[in-house]
């Protein structure tokens, strides 16, 4: 235990150690490199910091933001202004203030992102960049008209020292990004990029997530802009033109700058390409042609330097590991559903032991007696002229496992959506343990203890299993509990990247993660789709245990009759949006109406 703790501590200290090492390398470089390269290096660092920010907004949170340098300009403007009014503290204090000013601008620009998505947002941010460009040309930076140069910190006066200062700022920014990416915010960004619905169902505010991404991205750009103003002394709008913002955006894609080391590489490319052109006496205009071509290449092949290098590295270590433990790897259990088979981690190999002894422990007995946990009255949902649900009544007993059945299009998923809060326009009432849920957002409902899984894959491949589970659990589960649940559902260990896990296993991880949130009610939308028959059986055995073990009530959409028989106590059958039967499992299954509606469908399909 002690050893584990010290290991963990060492793991936590690692980024700090790396940062310190980087600063030392920076110090060494600042001493040995020719003066000109030191200055170039500072320019590269400014770009790196902006790229780090872009990595958050575009790389992690998946929003197309084409105005990164406008944020940098806000930071530079704030720093120039603080300098021109001779504010106390010097650049060391002005830098974060400039970052905060940019972050404020970022949040404002991010507001449309709450409604606008994808490429619409790109249009808005491009408009912002163009307007900011013109405005800066008009108002200029404070100090340019009077020629007051931005003062560098007293400790870092010359170009060499200032480079060291820039390295320190970069190291701090990288640490910030590292910790942010590892935090709930970071998981939220990756989550919201993949699915807003998934984010909300995890009890996390989509609004906050998007705005923090914009804010953090802009903060970094602002720090970069501030650093630039200290580097050149007088700031000009021509450092922050729209076309450069576009180039930076493309570079962020090419390098994969959501990874810290790749942002560093991107910054180096940002100065290396022009510098090489200069060395060979080629016009600087070719620089953006090269970036443009690289961007097209990278986008059309769907790859970036970061991912490529990572994959290469992973394959190499994998090969090394394989040669070390050759026989064990031979029976990699599940065939990955994704074509790139070489890079996928085989799911947990020990599937036969359905219930590991380790998790056997007394039921958390919040469950007291059997009352109706969820009660639905007169639930109706219409989409235009189509009635998806009509006057549905439903009661779920606490600690029960209820199956929700019905042919395709019967309204099962609509039901789950309505319960989870995605259809606020529904009619009727929904109560959880006597509390009305009407008017509550999906996030609020998730926080009250209603969790759901999705029929489609809503597991962001950019996260690790552990980060994903922790994000869904919202601090409800300790690390031990997380590992326990993962083992219980035969899921791969927390450090595994979700990208390397096949789709069927992802569904299991999704269930495990939602259980880690200790929900009162878990809505499972065809969780077993994509599993083999044996896996089906073992999954069913696991599900049955959930109410007793964890005190969770289950509502399960399922087609597989074997599974329904073995798992559910109660059944509700929908057809054409109406409940045609509900009650004890065996009674419902014996109902002739159900037989015609449901079995008929089965025969047809």
């Amino acid at each position: 235990m002690l050893r584990a703790n010290s290991l963990l501590a060492r793991e936590r200290m690692k980024p700090l150690a790396i940062a310190v090492a980087c600063v030392l390398v920076g110090w060494l470089l600042s001493a040995v490199l020719p003066a000109y390269f030191v200055f170039l290096g500072t320019t590269a660092i400014v770009a790196m910091i902006s790229l780090l920010g872009l990595g958050i907004v575009t790389g992690s949170a998946g929003m197309m933001a084409l105005c990164q340098l406008s944020f940098a300009a806000v930071g530079a403007w704030a720093v120039s202004w603080l300098n021109s009014v001779d504010a106390p503290g010097g650049l060391v204090v002005w830098l974060p203030l400039g970052g905060l000013a940019a972050a404020a601008a970022g949040v404002v620009v991010g507001l449309p992102a709450l409604r606008l998505r994808g490429v619409n947002l790109a249009v808005v941010t491009l408009g912002f960049a163009a307007a900011a460009d013109l405005t800066l040309g008009k108002i200029q930076f404070p100090g340019t008209q009077t020629g007051i140069q931005v003062a560098r910190p007293d400790l870092f006066p010359g170009d060499r020292r200032y480079f060291l200062f820039a390295v320190i700022v970069l190291a701090l920014c990288s640490l910030l990004v590292h910790y942010l990416q590892a935090s709930r915010w970071g998981s939220g960004w990756k989550f919201v990029a993949f699915s807003e619905r998934g984010t909300a169902s995890a009890g996390t505010s989509v609004t906050v997530t998007k705005l923090t991404a914009f804010g953090a991205g802009a903060f970094l750009a602002g720090v970069g802009g501030g650093l630039l103003s200290g580097q050149v002394g007088l700031v000009y709008p021509s450092s922050f033109t729209t076309i450069q913002s576009l180039a930076l955006y493309v570079l962020a894609i090419v390098s994969g700058s959501y990874l810290i080391d790749m942002a560093v590489l991107g910054g180096i490319l940002w100065v290396l390409v022009p510098e090489l052109l200069k060395r060979f006496g080629i016009s600087q205009d070719w620089g953006f042609v090269i970036f443009g071509a690289l961007g097209i290449q990278s986008l059309t092949t769907g790859s970036n330097l970061g991912a490529d290098l990572r994959a290469m590295w992973w394959r190499r270590t994998q090969r090394r590991r394989k040669s070390a433990e050759a026989p064990a790897a031979a029976d990699a259990a599940r065939a990955p559903a994704v074509p790139d088979a070489g890079t996928k981690v085989p799911a947990a190999t020990s599937q036969t032991s359905a219930v590991p002894a380790a998790v056997r422990r007394p039921t958390s007995s919040a469950v007291s007696g059997a009352g109706a946990l969820l009660s639905v009255r007169g639930l109706s949902v219409t989409f235009g002229h189509v009635t998806a649900l009509s006057e549905v009544d439903l009661d779920l007993t606490e600690g029960s496992v209820t199956g929700l059945m019905g042919p395709n299009g019967a309204g099962k998923s609509t039901m789950v959506d309505a319960l989870a809060g995605f259809l606020p326009q529904h009619q009727g009432t929904i109560q959880l343990a006597g509390q009305s849920l009407n008017g509550l957002s999906p996030m609020d409902r998730a926080r009250l203890g209603i969790r759901r899984t999705f029929q489609q894959d809503r597991v962001p491949p950019t996260l690790s299993v552990g980060a994903y589970v922790r994000f869904i659990a919202r601090g409800q589960a300790s690390d031990e509990r997380v590992e326990e649940l993962l083992r219980f559902f035969n899921c791969p260990p927390p450090s595994t990247q979700l990208a390397r896990v096949d789709v069927g296993t992802r569904r299991l991880i999704e269930v495990a993660a939602n259980m880690a949130a200790s929900p009162r009610l878990l809505l499972l939308d065809e969780p077993a789709a994509g599993l083999s028959h044996e896996e089906h059986v073992s999954f069913a055995e696991q599900l049955v245990q959930l109410p007793d073990r964890f005190g969770t009530t289950l509502l399960l959409i399922e087609h597989d009759l074997d599974m329904v028989r073995s798992v559910c106590n109660d059944l509700v059958v929908l057809n054409f949006g109406e409940v045609i039967a509900s009650g004890q499992r065996d009674d419902v299954l014996a109902n002739p109406q159900v037989m015609t509606a449901y079995m008929g469908e089965l025969e047809v399909s």
Binding site: R115, V124, S283, W286, G292, S413, Q455
Partner: protein, 285 residues
């Protein structure tokens, strides 16, 4: 005020034509083409180069416009070839990269010295009181309307339009039914490239001609298209014309000089937030 508004109408006409092209692209081939005007700019500059080779003006312009269509088709081919299943975001990002590429390339090929754009339609068409309406204004507004109506008719009435719509709404099904997806999308790219190249060639002689300021007409044009949600042609046309007139009118007030950069942008944002106030979630389910 009125004068300013009518003066902005020529620009508005260009915005409207480009907005229609953008809307078509977004609907039919799932891309917001940020390089739409850059393609036109490239074509207009090429036309000048051709004219310098002693080609008659009309022939040079026609040749430039054709090359513009080919360049556009080429980008379309790249996207259709390698990103057939990708979402609109990834596809549009390609066009951001090609915008960057085209602008820099035109600096290299055409230099930064002003080019002799021969005016195709010089001077005023008519004037009412002291409001002058130029020939370019008349042609651009007519072109915007013609393109919008033409595309609407093509999409709703013709056989190829049916195929195109099928392709945009059910790409996989359409392909299974034997609609040549790749060919059609390249055709859409080339067609919109042709239209925008022609539009820019008409307007370029009356405007500041440097590659960046021409290419970034994409900003108000895409704002106009956004007004129609990248779906409605009529709103795109109205939006383009209105935006041009608004900018023209605002330019008459010196004190609003900073504000006028922002007004169109703000109007678009507010309009969109209102229009999409109900759509809360990213996907249907």
């Amino acid at each position: 005020m009125l004068q300013g508004a009518s003066a902005g109408l020529a620009a508005g006409g260009l915005y409207a034509v480009i907005a229609v092209c953008l809307t078509l692209m977004a609907r039919l081939v799932r891309v917001v083409n940020f390089s739409q005007v850059a393609i036109g700019m490239f074509a207009a500059y090429l036309a000048v180069i051709f004219a310098e080779q002693h080609l008659p003006q009309w022939a040079a312009t026609a040749a430039g416009v054709c090359v513009g269509a080919v360049v556009s088709g080429l980008i379309g081919w790249i996207i259709a070839q390698w990103l057939p299943e990708a979402g609109i975001g990834a596809r549009s990002a390609v066009s951001v990269a090609s915008l960057l590429l085209l602008v820099s390339l035109s600096f290299i090929l055409f230099g930064s010295k002003p080019k002799t754009f021969k005016s195709l339609l010089p001077g005023p068409a008519f004037s009412m009181g002291n409001v002058v309406v130029t020939q370019v204004t008349v042609v651009m507004v007519a072109l915007a309307l013609a393109v919008a109506v033409g595309c609407h008719v093509l999409l709703t009435k013709s056989k190829i339009g049916t195929k195109l719509r099928a392709l945009s709404e059910r790409p996989t099904t359409a392909e299974l039914l034997g609609v040549p997806a790749k060919g059609l999308s390249i055709a859409v790219w080339a067609g919109t490239g042709l239209i925008s190249a022609a539009a820019v060639s008409i307007v370029a002689p009356t405007q500041t001609n440097d590659p960046i300021s021409l290419s970034f007409i994409i900003v108000p044009a895409s704002a106009a298209a956004l007004l129609g949600g990248f779906r409605r042609l009529d709103l795109a046309v109205v939006g383009g014309l209105a935006l041009g007139m608004l900018q023209g009118a605002l330019a008459q007030f010196e004190q609003m000089s900073v504000l006028r950069y922002w007004v169109p942008f703000l109007i678009i944002v507010v309009f969109l937030l209102w229009a999409e106030r109900k759509e809360v979630w990213d996907v249907a389910r």
